[in-house]
């Protein structure tokens, strides 16, 4: 990303998570995985689940019938983020509003449902209403349709850095003048087949099977939810009274691996900053699903930014979203540590890649 351009500000936050549907920062209380009841399994299985709620009770007029839960959550999270940003859509040019969504699995619940309809009725008897809702891009499309947003509508994925990629792609649209405002969303819904995949791949934490506290657990606790943030060029915020800035994004990059993480991270930070490394107050660590206690990101952050800097460790819930968890890492870090000043948002997937975003926390 080109340095020395007007920064992009995060002005609104919305989310649907185990904390429920919320506008603004999340007041993080103790969070333990909940027992899965959506499908049967031999013995109890646990994950970080979104408690059932009625979307229309949160966003009046919202009809989510026959949508994948991921689409429904994207609609709610985007509405809450716009509300939090104080944006009145009727007063802006909606053809200049972009939607950028990151997901790993897309609308996997309705994809399973489509397969089940094929198993029951044959491939000649599948459901025409379900089919388009299986597309990974359906949640972002619904966000544009519901809010009447006619700017670029993009769905991206990256195994490790989907959320970071979505934020940077949105910032890119704003910098290039292809949109005036962007809603960035990232998340996934947990389904039977994805949970079983984690289980068969032997990735699950013991906390998925019993009530071990999360802090002592090793392994991965799958999670679900959608986070949304509103991005705007900083100079536009002055036009709106009562606008708030959570953070400014000045630059960022992500890439695949090929070298040890500490080498590529150092290299990329030098590239972003043009050789000078500023004094960071904070390093926010994200992750790719590795256990929090053994996350290499925090160690790496110390190596890069030095001792004496506040390190915010990866959040266990956001880790459970793997490559679509970045927005939750950022929101939960901002919620839990009332810090301000220059910050480095850093994610690694060991030697499989890295992401680094330079922020100014407000």
């Amino acid at each position: 990303m080109t340095p020395n351009l007007p920064p992009i500000a995060i002005t609104g936050i919305g989310s649907v998570s185990p904390y429920g549907p919320l506008a603004g920062l999340i007041q993080p209380g103790p969070l333990e995985p909940a027992a899965i009841t959506g499908w049967t399994s031999a013995g109890e299985r646990r994950a970080f689940l979104v408690p059932p709620f009625r979307p229309a009770a949160v966003v009046p007029g919202l009809n989510t019938r026959r949508l994948d839960r991921l689409s429904a959550w994207a609609l709610v999270a985007s509405s809450l983020a716009l509300k939090d940003a104080g944006i009145e859509l009727n007063s802006i040019d909606r053809s200049r509003v972009a939607v950028v969504f990151a997901t790993i699995f897309g609308c996997v619940e309705l994809t399973e449902a489509f397969y089940l309809s094929a198993a029951a009725n044959g491939w000649n008897g599948t459901d025409p209403i379900t089919f388009p809702e299986t597309l990974a891009s359906a949640p972002a499309s619904h966000v544009s349709m519901f809010h009447g947003l006619r700017g670029p509508n993009i769905t991206v994925s990256n195994k490790y850095f989907g959320g970071e990629s979505a934020m940077l792609q949105a910032a890119c649209l704003l910098r290039h003048g292809q949109a005036d405002l962007a809603i960035v969303l990232a998340g996934d819904a947990l389904s039977r087949s994805t949970y079983a995949w984690y289980e068969e791949a032997d990735l699950l934490s013991p906390a998925c099977y019993n009530s071990h506290p999360v802090s002592e657990a090793e392994g991965f606790i799958p999670a679900e939810g959608v986070a949304a943030v509103v991005l705007e060029p900083s100079d536009r915020i002055n036009l709106r009274p009562n606008a708030r800035t959570y953070a400014r994004i000045s630059s960022g990059l992500w890439a695949a691996g090929g070298e040890p993480a500490e080498i590529i991270c150092q290299k990329i930070i030098r590239q972003m900053l043009g050789g000078s490394v500023p004094s960071f107050c904070t390093a926010i660590c994200s992750g790719n699903g590795a256990p929090c206690a053994t996350s290499p990101t925090a160690t790496l952050a110390h190596e890069i930014v030095g001792e004496g800097v506040a390190i915010i460790h990866p959040n266990a819930y956001a880790q459970g979203l793997a490559g679509s968890g970045a927005l939750f890492h950022l929101i939960l870090a901002s919620s839990s540590a009332r810090v301000s000043g220059p910050a480095l948002f850093l994610g690694t997937a060991r030697n499989n890649g890295f992401a680094a975003i330079l922020l100014e926390l407000s």
Partner: protein
């Protein structure tokens, strides 16, 4: 004066299509009017009776045949290899390159109804876990990157049938932002029962070879393939004395914000997208010599698209030449925008306006010159490729033979 650091050029084009691998066989096939659409019965699932365009005889590649490489991944890897070869560079040149690859299916070809009925035993089957690993659409970007040892930023894009074109647009944005020195950008999608069944359920398939833009059109046909472009700045291409195949002069993305599957009937979203792309390219409607249309052959798409061209090219001094090359290759879904970008570049380079096949009774649209019959030969300095998709996504790319 051209800013070479802000000019995006195409220095390689790779493609795998029902014609085979590479642009030469694609060009020979299309310029001779050869259709790849074949009618089959019970081919994809019991009861299927329709027309598809299939890629036959994929080469055996050691890594590309690994169990975690889906057919989507294999097509993408082959197209990327062809693109790199066409750029005149070996894979080491691409070590720090970025990858923007699109797909709507990801690894759906590798899984079946069993995974939904009882996933545990399905995963425990030999190769089950590896096959499932290819399911997320992000895997197609990883497949290309891992196969060639490319370690720049990777991004997969899935925006229904505009995916391949949008991957190219987003790669151009990232290139100009300095995210990587060059990009491999394109799309890949195979044929599979899931999508054939889905389009069949929507009654969007013509059982016979499709007739885009015909008043009697009855639907689309699905195809498969992959196309990948090598994008770099003109400055970088000049520095390594690369051959510039085309200049990406303009690009734009919009959304109809209208309906899950139907386009806005006046084609306003696509018309806006065309206008924005021409603004970026700093050209007028009169400058565009040819539009490679989305042209699926479905009643709703083609009429909305015709309306979009009427709106976007209003005031042009002669009708805008338009054709749909889906009449040759079918609809390659997430790959379609990239495949059609490659065809548009081929049209520019060969000076050939490619007609729509089987178009006998075109939609009445006075501002549009529906290309049919024989290939028209003429210099083509600027051409446009338009893509649209479910959910109202539109992407338009403008390619030129040279600088303004």
């Amino acid at each position: 004066m051209t800013d070479t650091h802000k000019t995006v050029v195409v220095t390689g084009v790779g493609i795998v299509s029902p014609y085979g691998i590479g642009m030469d066989c694609l060009q020979a096939g299309m310029l001779s009017g050869q259709s790849c659409l074949v009618r089959t019965k019970d081919d994809w699932f019991p009861g299927f009776d329709g027309t598809t365009a299939r890629v036959c005889g994929l080469p055996s590649m050691a890594d590309a045949s690994r169990p975690e490489f889906s057919r989507t991944d294999q097509l993408a890897v082959i197209a990327a290899q062809d693109a790199m070869a066409s750029s005149g560079c070996d894979s080491s040149t691409f070590r720090e390159a970025g990858i923007a690859m699109a797909s709507t299916l990801g690894g759906l070809t590798e899984i079946d109804t069993g995974i939904a009925k009882d996933p545990g035993p399905w995963y425990r089957r030999p190769g089950g876990l590896s096959r499932a690993a290819s399911y997320p659409f992000a895997h197609v970007a990883d497949a290309v990157g891992n196969h060639f040892g490319i370690r720049g930023p990777r991004c997969a894009i899935s925006v229904a049938c505009a995916s391949g074109a949008m991957a190219i647009a987003l790669a151009a944005n990232m290139l100009l932002d300095g995210a990587a020195p060059m990009f491999l950008a394109g799309g890949s999608d195979p044929l599979c029962a899931f999508t054939l069944s889905g389009f069949n359920s929507l009654q969007a398939l013509d059982p016979n070879p499709c007739t885009p833009f015909d008043q009697n059109r009855k639907g689309t046909n699905l195809g498969e393939g992959s196309a990948v472009l090598v994008l770099e700045t003109l400055a970088a291409a000049t520095a390594r004395s690369a051959k510039v195949l085309a200049v990406l002069r303009g690009w734009a993305m919009t959304n109809d914000a209208f309906h899950t599957t139907a386009p806005q009937k006046e084609g306003s979203g696509l018309a806006d997208c065309i206008r924005l792309s021409m603004e970026m390219a700093q050209v007028s409607g009169d400058d565009i010599g040819y539009v490679n249309a989305h042209g699926t052959g479905t009643p709703l798409n083609d009429s909305a698209e015709a309306n979009a061209y009427e709106t976007a090219f209003r005031g042009r001094n002669r009708p805008i030449p338009v054709s749909s090359t889906k009449s040759y290759l079918g609809h390659c879904l997430g790959a379609a925008g990239a495949v059609e970008a490659a065809i548009t570049i081929m049209a520019i380079r060969s000076g050939a306006l490619i007609p729509t096949l089987r178009l006998t009774n075109p939609i009445e649209s006075p501002g549009v010159d529906w290309l049919r019959g024989k290939v028209k030969r003429q210099p083509l300095p600027l051409a446009m490729s338009a893509s649209s998709g479910f959910g109202g996504n539109n992407t338009v790319l403008i390619f030129g033979s040279g600088l303004s």
